[in-house]
């Protein structure tokens, strides 16, 4: 199935280096990488291998030194600061290791946040938020604050927030890294469901082999270079 469809992410000759004083540390060197629509890709590799950097570049929150990144036919490396922010709002869903919910907002309001950047009115926003909270099974917790929810529940709210704008791709950075085994399993099942039922494309960085098992494709990064498994 993956082979048949047009790639949603197309990365060519991507390089990125960090500067520490006078020292230049290469992180990614000449990466070429395609992700097909509806694929669940796991990026693995040791610390410092550049997997999070690659994820950040695909998500448009970091800038490349060289090369091109096309996501759904948009060349994001040439977008300016403000256009990139607008692009992220509509095209990328973020799932973080520590959920990154806003503590002073309720589950409902957290999920509603990305919709505040759309033209939807109040009633339409409510419908969307209720629908995705229902998908993640937290419709009855929408008035709870993050501190009143368990880690697994918080991550499910974060996933609802990531999918509420119906983005092209979901990027997940160690989504199970802070969870116990049972909650982690629930989150992975939910992500798997998003791919199978809703046709989402997921790019996930993980250390956890159990998490990587859920993915269709596992890519290993080592010293800034990709290898296929």
């Amino acid at each position: 199935m993956a082979e048949a469809s047009e790639p949603i992410v197309r990365i060519r000759n991507l390089s990125k280096a960090y500067r520490r004083g006078a020292q230049i540390i290469p992180v990614l060197t000449g990466i070429n990488f395609d992700i097909a629509r509806g694929e669940f890709v796991a990026l693995m590799g040791p610390s410092g291998s550049g997997k999070s950097t690659l994820l950040n570049l695909i998500a448009g929150i970091d800038s490349a030194d060289e090369g091109s990144i096309q996501v759904a036919d948009v060349e994001i490396t040439t977008l300016g600061e403000s256009d990139l922010a607008s692009w992220r709002a509509g095209s990328v869903g973020f799932i973080f290791q520590f959920y990154n919910l806003i503590p002073v907002l309720t589950a409902f309001e957290n999920v509603e946040l990305p919709l505040l950047l759309t033209h939807l009115n109040r009633r339409e926003r409510r419908e969307h938020v209720e629908a995705v909270l229902d998908v993640v099974g937290l419709a009855d917790r929408m008035d709870h604050y993050p501190s009143q929810l368990s880690g697994g529940q918080q991550q499910r709210v974060a996933i609802a927030r990531a999918i509420v704008t119906d983005p092209e791709i979901l990027v997940a950075d160690e989504p199970t890294g802070d969870l116990d085994r049972v909650s982690a399993e629930e989150i992975l099942q939910l992500m798997d469901r998003l791919v199978r039922e809703f046709g989402k494309t997921v790019v996930m960085v993980t250390h956890d082999p159990r998490a990587a098992e859920k993915a269709h494709i596992i890519r290993h990064l080592e010293k800034g270079e990709l290898s296929v498994t």
Binding site: I61, R88, F94, V104, L105, L116
Partner: protein, 388 residues
């Protein structure tokens, strides 16, 4: 649409203690700011209420106050016969030729001497000042050594109470009445028969002439005619203008004092707000990174933190105004520098002071919040997210 205001508000609420402490510091400054404005307002209100806009005061040219002025008798008789002067129900013109002298009296508390205005009045004087009402006793009989004292003087100065005796102008004067003049400057005066007083003080001339205009719009024409008349050396002012001018020197002093205090204090309060907002930004680095990743623009982050700082400032403003509103219970008695006499007035709060104080507090919040808000908006997303 940007980040909702509730986000800024709830963050303040979440760190209530810090918010209240910072807001209290700002509140103190707003308190000083509002209190000096209230003092100035109270002073001006007292003096301006003393005057009435259809009354005209005639003084010798370039005298700032009745105490400095002198109107010759021949000029007075010319001025008495002008057509603009209103006539009372009894057919007499509503015009009073008055004598104003300062004397020194000792206060009941502390025995300290202070200047008090003695006003020699005509029968028309009372009709020209409807705010003045006899409260106790009776008015002095014409041609006698009797006086009535304003309520504030009667209460605060020795020998000025009802039935007591005062000595000035080498004579003894019996206080036969106490009058209430509301919140006007007359409350700080002693009134008696003008001719008796001119005798006692050996004054050959009047201090001022006060009269009611028949038609209040006729003032400008009247003033132009009188002041260009070569036989006269007087100038005409509306009574309200006259008392406003009297308050100007003191009001200006209070304003400058208030401004200096407020500026010095507000620097401290702004630094406090800056520290609080920097701490708020530092505690929420990941949150800021997350919001930016979700697609919120730099300017949304900037405005969210600026709104937070504005709200913090307004909290301070409300606290300061609340405290300042209690100052209305206090009455101040001090020297009016224009007439060199005692004047009693109170702190007065009005809508304009409320708005000015709130605006001032918002500006303090804004100034304190600008740098931290800029810092928040300029963070690199990846670095902010890594701060977890």
């Amino acid at each position: 649409m940007g980040i909702p205001y509730s986000y800024s508000f709830r963050n303040l609420w979440t760190r209530r203690l810090t918010t209240v402490l910072t807001a209290s510091g700002m509140g103190l400054v707003v308190f000083v700011f509002a209190a000096t404005l209230m003092l100035t307002e109270g002073l001006q209100k007292t003096l301006v209420q003393t005057g009435s806009s259809d009354n005209v005061v005639l003084l010798r040219k370039s005298s700032n106050s009745e105490v400095q002025s002198a109107v010759e008798r021949d000029q007075a008789s010319l001025l008495e016969s002008q057509p603009e002067i209103a006539v009372g129900a009894d057919g007499e013109p509503l015009l009073a030729k008055e004598l104003v002298v300062l004397i020194n009296l000792k206060k009941r508390v502390g025995d300290k001497p202070s200047n008090v205005i003695i006003r020699g009045i005509d029968p028309a004087s009372l009709k020209l000042r409807p705010a003045v009402r006899l409260k106790e006793g009776r008015m002095p009989r014409p041609g006698s050594a009797e006086v009535v004292a304003g309520e504030s003087v009667a209460r605060r100065f020795k020998g000025c109470g009802l039935g007591e005796t005062l000595r000035f102008g080498m004579r003894d004067w019996r206080v036969v009445g106490v009058f209430d003049a509301g919140a006007t400057g007359f409350s700080s005066e002693i009134w008696g028969d003008r001719d008796q007083m001119m005798q006692a003080f050996r004054r050959p001339v009047y201090s001022s002439i006060i009269f009611r205009l028949r038609d209040t719009t006729a003032f400008d024409a009247y003033k132009a005619r009188i002041e260009s008349d070569p036989r006269l050396t007087v100038e005409a002012k509306r009574e309200t203008r006259y008392y406003l001018d009297q308050s100007e020197a003191m009001a200006k002093f209070l304003r400058i004092l208030g401004l200096v205090l407020t500026v010095v204090f507000s620097i401290g309060a702004v630094i406090g707000a800056t520290i609080t907002m920097y701490a708020a930004v530092a505690n929420r680095v990941t949150e800021i990174g997350t919001l930016r990743a979700l697609g919120f623009q730099r300017k949304s982050i900037l405005s969210a933190f600026i709104v937070e700082a504005l709200l913090l400032g307004l909290c301070g403003g409300v606290l300061g105004l609340f405290a300042a509103s209690f100052m209305q219970l206090i009455t101040i008695s001090t020297m009016n520098w224009a007439s060199f006499s005692e004047l009693a007035f109170s702190f007065t709060l009005n809508v304009s002071i409320v708005w000015k104080s709130l605006l001032f507090s918002a500006v303090m919040g804004l100034v304190g919040g600008v740098l931290p808000a800029f810092r928040a908006s300029r963070m690199k997303i990846v670095e902010a997210l890594r701060a977890t």
